[in-house]
């Protein structure tokens, strides 16, 4: 990778790359896994320098959008809504880039721990009242296959009529979005509410 590419990536992650150049870079990312990793590293470094949490999956959007851009002829499809009609829809190359996946992204990709004993099996999701910052990891910790399993599980479990929200949360969470740290006032308000409503312990 030459310096020009590095500068281009740096400008891209800072949001300073012109749209036309960003498009070209995205196309290259779609064909170059090494470039995708480099962009992910730049994004992670940037967040670390800004003191922000590193949200797993945040880099994935660039990768998956890039993956979606290919050189195949665009095949127009008609969707059910007028807004989509007459637009060219490009098939996503990656199943992880589903809109449903992206929807859960709104809710933020939370703690995503690695495999092979990074977390003990007995550990549970970070308690709501936790004051210690969770240890966020980069998205390489989860395979595309596992992403698809989460997605299929979410869709299937929802179809059964139970736990729709939770499964949607999780499958959507497998996308990307960087969210700011909560405002202290908000967090205190919620935590106080939770503390005051703890039900009796289970028998």
């Amino acid at each position: 990778m030459n310096d020009a590419i590095r500068m281009q990536i740096s400008a891209f992650v800072d949001g300073e790359l012109p749209d036309n150049e960003a498009d070209l870079l995205l196309r290259r990312m779609g064909q170059d896994a090494g470039l995708r990793r480099s962009v992910a590293e730049y994004l992670a470094i940037g967040r670390a320098m800004r003191g922000e949490a590193c949200w797993a999956g945040v880099d994935g959007i660039h990768e998956r959008v890039a993956d979606a851009i290919d050189d195949k002829p665009i095949e127009p499809q008609l969707a059910s809504e007028p807004d989509v009609r007459r637009r060219s829809l490009r098939p996503l190359a990656s199943v992880a880039a589903a809109a449903a996946v992206a929807m859960l992204a709104i809710f933020g990709l939370q703690q995503m721990t690695g495999v092979d004993g990074v977390d003990s099996p007995g550990s549970v999701a970070t308690p709501l009242q936790a004051t210690v910052e969770p240890d966020y990891t980069v998205p390489q910790g989860i395979s595309e296959q596992l992403r698809e399993y989460y997605r299929v599980h979410g869709a299937t479990a929802t179809e059964t009529g139970a736990n729709g929200m939770l499964t949607r949360f999780v499958s959507l969470r497998l996308s990307e979005e960087q969210l700011p740290l909560p405002a202290e006032d908000d967090a205190e308000t919620v935590e106080q509410d939770i503390d005051s409503s703890t039900p009796p312990r289970q028998p």
Binding site: V115, P121, L166, Q202
Partner: protein, 323 residues
């Protein structure tokens, strides 16, 4: 004489039975189960708009939400108030995810009618020995009278829930997912809400012009078919049972994958059985409140995924056997 008294006895008996039935009906209408049944209807039929606060893992985020049903068609919008302004627009089964920073729109079709807040125990849920459900107390949420329903797990294999339901409509105003130590690991709560009021069209429309955006569609999920399978888990936590078994073609696997869905009526766990691959993941992984556990078993790779504690997916996955 006796002949005259029998009808009286019958009438008295009927009156007593009627009174008891009325009392039972009145009590039942105030039971936690009846609240949950009302809730399952409310989440499907209620139009609403408001602000949702979600808390998980020490993080807080705000969302503007709106949902309306017209002529049986669901229109829904969810907009993040932080970050890069992602928006989800749903019209019927079609879902658009708008990524303004990338000038892109992802399109997907959802077959189910689930909504953001339909996750909670539905009327189909059977509360057996694995959960207790109880009315805890009344309170106020988002400026409305609410009743708190607690769904408590008896063991460490599943999470419990606390659900604040609107007294008037039974719509869930606040939900919490509860770990076995009693701590809340995820909360979704309305900060403000309008129920069954006219929703402005603009509240359901994209906030951005997508005229020059690039549009991408998610390929339809590969058709799957119900199958019989030789696979089952010999160490299912109590209450879990297989409720569906499919064979699915997935992008990341050349061979069809066996997919078994286990449920205890509230918590769901999917088990995927695929051809082994050297590059497969092994061990435990967590995404939010969802856990997965993967292992190799002969020439198969087994993965269990669910909104349950990690110990549950590990136990189910490691117990998978071929008969």
């Amino acid at each position: 004489m006796f002949a005259l008294r029998r009808p009286l006895l019958v009438r008295h008996t009927l009156v007593v039975v009627g009174l008891l039935a009325a009392q039972a009906a009145a009590a039942d209408s105030h039971s936690p189960e009846s609240w949950l049944q009302r809730m399952s209807v409310a989440v499907q039929s209620t139009s609403y708009s408001g602000t949702v606060i979600r808390v998980q893992g020490g993080k807080t985020e705000a969302l503007k939400v709106a949902r309306e049903i017209q002529d049986g068609v669901v229109r829904e919008k969810i907009a993040a108030q932080e970050g890069n302004g992602l928006e989800i627009i749903r019209v019927g089964n079609e879902v658009h995810c708008i990524l303004p920073d990338r000038k892109s729109v992802l399109v997907e079709e959802w077959e189910d009618q689930s909504t953001l807040f339909s996750t909670l125990p539905s009327s189909e849920i059977r509360f057996g020995n694995e959960y207790d459900v109880a009315i805890v107390r009344e309170g106020r949420v988002a400026g409305r009278d609410a009743v708190l329903i607690a769904v408590r797990s008896h063991d460490r294999y599943r999470y419990g829930q606390r659900i604040w339901l609107d007294v008037e409509t039974a719509f869930p105003l606040q939900t919490q997912l509860i770990a076995d130590d009693g701590s809340a690991i995820e909360q979704v709560k309305f900060a403000d809400i309008s129920l069954n009021e006219k929703i402005q069209a603009s509240a359901l429309a994209p906030s951005y012009s997508t005229e020059n955006f690039r549009w991408f569609n998610q390929p339809a999920r590969h058709a799957n078919r119900t199958i019989e399978t030789e696979w089952s888990s010999d160490s299912l936590p109590q209450g879990f049972r297989a409720i569906a078994t499919h064979e699915e073609k997935m992008a990341e696997s050349e061979e069809p994958v066996i997919h078994i869905l286990y449920s205890d009526g509230l918590a769901n766990v999917s088990v995927f059985i695929a051809a082994a691959d050297d590059n497969e993941m092994r061990g435990v992984s967590q995404v939010g409140v969802s856990s997965s556990f993967s292992l190799a078993s002969g020439d198969r790779h087994i993965t269990a995924v669910g909104e349950v504690p990690p110990i549950t997916v590990e136990q189910i996955a490691t117990g998978m056997r071929r008969r």
